[in-house]
Amino acid sequence: MTGNVEIKVLFFAGLREQLGLPSIQSKLQAPLTVASLQQQLASQGAPWHVMQSEHLLCAVNKEIVSPEHVVRAGDEVAFFPPVTGG
């Protein structure tokens, strides 16, 4: 699939605070992997450089995925720091 895809991206915890927002709705060029989505977001200037962190985890439709995972139109993507519950 090529062309623009509409994707919702959520941010949690420290990342949400650093970016100053809980989510964005974005039109992005497909096909798109999680790694390239992260790179595109990181290249938007301050404060988006925090997206460059290699420690960030990514979930697509509420399942943890690898950086090679391909994002599709309508997916809910989430980026967040390593977890610290319990």
């Binding site: 959520l10 949690f12 915890a13 420290g14 605070e17 979930a59 509420k62 399942e63 943890i64 989430a78 967040f80 720091p81 390593p82 977890v83 610290t84 519950g85 319990g86």
Partner: protein, 147 residues
């Protein structure tokens, strides 16, 4: 037989234990995690727990089901609180019921070790040093990896 809950309200560990006694188990192991009032850096007043609605519940449920495939279990329950929790308040309950004690001990330990590594929950600490997001502890990472 496996159920999870993410909630702001406190829980009653006694009632949760009582509920597990009805499944015909020979062993029930329960664990409660509480907010400490200090760390190496000084006094802790409170924690704020953040979660990812939907994913946190799904991941907790998958964790119990994973334990149920690995050990012979009769029932399992996880309750995790979110929002602001003051020092000494309860954070998490894990209850595991099985025929014999070893499975219940091991499964409860597995659930807590993996919960700290795999479930989308984040702690912000409020205390003497101001407020900051809690960093991952190497000891917790190793405990999760041993299973």
């Amino acid at each position: 037989m496996f159920s999870v809950k993410v909630q702001h309200e406190d829980f009653n560990a006694g009632k949760e234990y009582q509920a597990l006694t009805s499944v015909g188990a020979g062993a029930i192991v329960t664990f409660c995690g509480l907010v400490r009032d200090h760390s190496a850096e000084g006094r802790i007043d409170a924690l704020t727990l953040e979660h990812y609605p939907g994913m946190t519940e799904n991941t907790l449920q998958q964790l119990l089901e994973h334990a149920g495939r690995r050990w012979s279990l009769l029932a399992g329950r996880i309750i995790h609180r979110v929002g602001r929790l003051e020092a000494h308040q309860q954070i998490v309950f894990v209850g595991i019921a099985s025929e014999h004690r070893q499975a219940a001990f091991e499964a409860a330990s597995f659930v807590m070790d993996r919960l700290k590594n795999d479930v989308p929950l984040w702690k912000k600490q409020h205390g003497q040093q101001g407020e900051h997001w809690v960093e991952v502890k190497e000891s917790d990472r190793q405990a999760g990896a041993k299973w």
